[in-house]
Amino acid sequence: MRRLIAFLMAAVLVLGLAACGGEEQTAEQVTVRYGLSNAWDSLMPYNSPSGSNYTRIICDKLYDRLAYVHADGTLDPRGATSWESADDGMAVVFHLDEKAAFHDGTPVTAQHWADTIALITNPSCPALGRGTFSVVAGTDENGCAVEGETLGVEAVDDYTLKLTFKSPTTPEDFLLDKNRELYVLPSHLLADTDPAQIMELDLWDAPIGSGPCKFVEEIPGSQLMLAVNRDYQLGSPDFDQLVITVMDKSNLLPSLISGDLDYYAFGGNVSVEDAETAKASGLEVVEGEVPNTFYELMLNCETIPSAEVRRAIDLALDKEALCLQSTQGLGEPTATDITPGTEYTCTLTWARDVDQARTLLEQGGYDGRTYTLACTSNRSGLAALMQQELAEVGITVTIETVDSAALFSGMSDGKYDMAIASHTPGALPLWFTGSRLSESNNIFHIADLEPYTYYMDQIRAASGWEKRQVLLDKLQELLADQRPFIPLWFGRTLHVQSPTVDNIDYPSSSFSNENIWAWRMKTD
């Protein structure tokens, strides 16, 4: 019996070890260990059901994008070296970097970009997230190419790409909005495949892109090993490989402190409190300068049909306390979705007014029903605080903690009455409202979008800051009157600096891009 047990145990150990141990590495390589709290889903950027930032930040390494977006909204060249408006603002011409090449050595040409867009907008291709291309001429509102119309993508020559839009769009507007969802695929490897079969290709198990890192191996959902692309047009870092490991978020900071991680996405974010712990452990913490989170309370205008009740909810919330709870002092309460520090402003202010809220509730005919407030589990404290504040004016709320995907889908299905969400703010006047107050993504369930789209179309068409600002003020007034969503605050972030890697552009990771080509190992 004893021998049997001993044998069994030995067998288990040997089996386990054998299954884990691959071939041994030969040369000593410099590795940067990168932590991530959630898994990416697909390494094919247009096949990600979640469309989450975790997938975007991974695809950012493997594939190239047109530009690099800084946290403050400025743009740097990446796949394209320069860009300019054409055709009276209806089109943008991108001049591509001639040094760019795929990991298999094939140079990246304008044809690759054009083919990629043509493939993804092809209705028979089972691509996800093609809504990105709904701004391009020749597509419907879902981003599918319309038969008989010319798709607004053209490879003018090998290194000149021209995109034509449905409405006038500046290159900056387009890139700020869409850059993180526009990748170039190795279309020379896809040419022989039926678009309907594209996702079945073995290529996506070991993808070939033209990004700053090359695929080495993957344990889906747990670990991704990448090698640095020495031929990347913007240069390459001085380490050899990047190992991305998924672990629970509670282990990210401890691992960084203990030296078992070099960096964690996104931008090594920490709360004010954890920053003290990190500093006490000898790490450096730097405060982000531009707001990089925007918190809002989404409302369901179908189940909360009265604008008075929605305004009452706005007045009932103590944004100052909520903001303090969430950001611990690194945020500014707001009455609008327009990002502070950008060229557009808004004169609206907010103040808590419990009595006014009660009056409005009465006017709105609030019947005492219980609303469902959805939030993600890390914001349950925030939700609990809101619940108390709303109870003060007589609104009862139950809280559902769900994951963020379920939160957004529950909101668009009308399952929840309100939900707490946060977004990465943009510099454009319609960065927030533009995509949400639309027929294809009417997440607030607004019965009549007409008044909003009236202003938004005018803002899009208007040229010049002054005209836009005037129209924007009108739109903001309308929003303040109708309150389909409640802007809460803009927050900044603290970034724990990597103890081992220099030159990381921490804040820009909130736009799902990282300047990995410029990273350098610290020498000491």
């Binding site: 990600s48 996702m199 670990q223």
Partner: protein, 319 residues
Amino acid sequence: MGRYLRRRLLTAIPVFFGITILVFCMLNLAQGSILDLMGEGSGATDADRAALAASLGLDRPLPQRYLSWLWDLLRGDLGTSYTNGKPVAGLIAQRVGPSLLLTGTGVVLAVAIALPLGVLAAWKPRSGWNRAASALSLISFGVPGFFLCLAGIFLFSVTLGWLPANGMYAAGRFSGIGDLLRHLILPAGVVCLSSVGELVKQTRAACLEALGEDYIRTARAKGLTDRTVMVRHAFRCSLIPVLTTILSHIPHILGGSVVVEQVFGWPGMGSLLFSGISGRDYAVVMGVTVVIALAVLLTNLLLDLAYGLADPRVRYGKG
């Protein structure tokens, strides 16, 4: 023996179907399907959702989906992941090794601690051993697994800096057995701690029971020393119940490793399962649960057959 074998196999068949039906129904009736996931961030539209539903076969009636799923399962095809489109069997195969290594090491450690401690505690109930056994069981029963993980990380990685806090290898890939063992100690220690309490308890109880049996009393009456009695007889007798406990606890140990793997970023079945549940990738969840359940079923079956082979009483005794 032939009849026993047949009877035992026959009872395993309904259990097998029961497992598959249970897994399939539970996950398919779950509220949120993968389509829910195509939330705001993905920019998906109703048309996209319908297309995805059709491509995943979610538009067919439930019984039909079950039968085709079962047929695929019998051929070793567990379907493809909803989120990354990879074959689930392949995903699981990648994770089996690390999982076996982690739980295997944890259980071996637990047995190595529990057997001697349990015997000593039974042998000398008033000694420090008994108290040590009690204290160990207390930690094992009373402290939640995730707390053990985080306390371990804080103590051994952050404060002392002795052990790595995450992952399986320092450089993402096998680079020597020492590196692997260093990464293994913390998570395996937690797995060991969370299962050792039950084992100590069972060993001790089995030994006490054995001490009361006639033949032990005979042995004692024959004048054998306490030590000989303990080691030769009581310890041996307690082995079978302890082994049974270990095997019947395999599902729980695997379940407990969900938390451990999640915290340490260990690339095992537990973290695969958890990412499947939180990402609503039901193909993966179904695959992992069914593989674990079938593995347990098979282990139990083999164990019963081994018992039957070793002990004729079993063959006629049990229904």
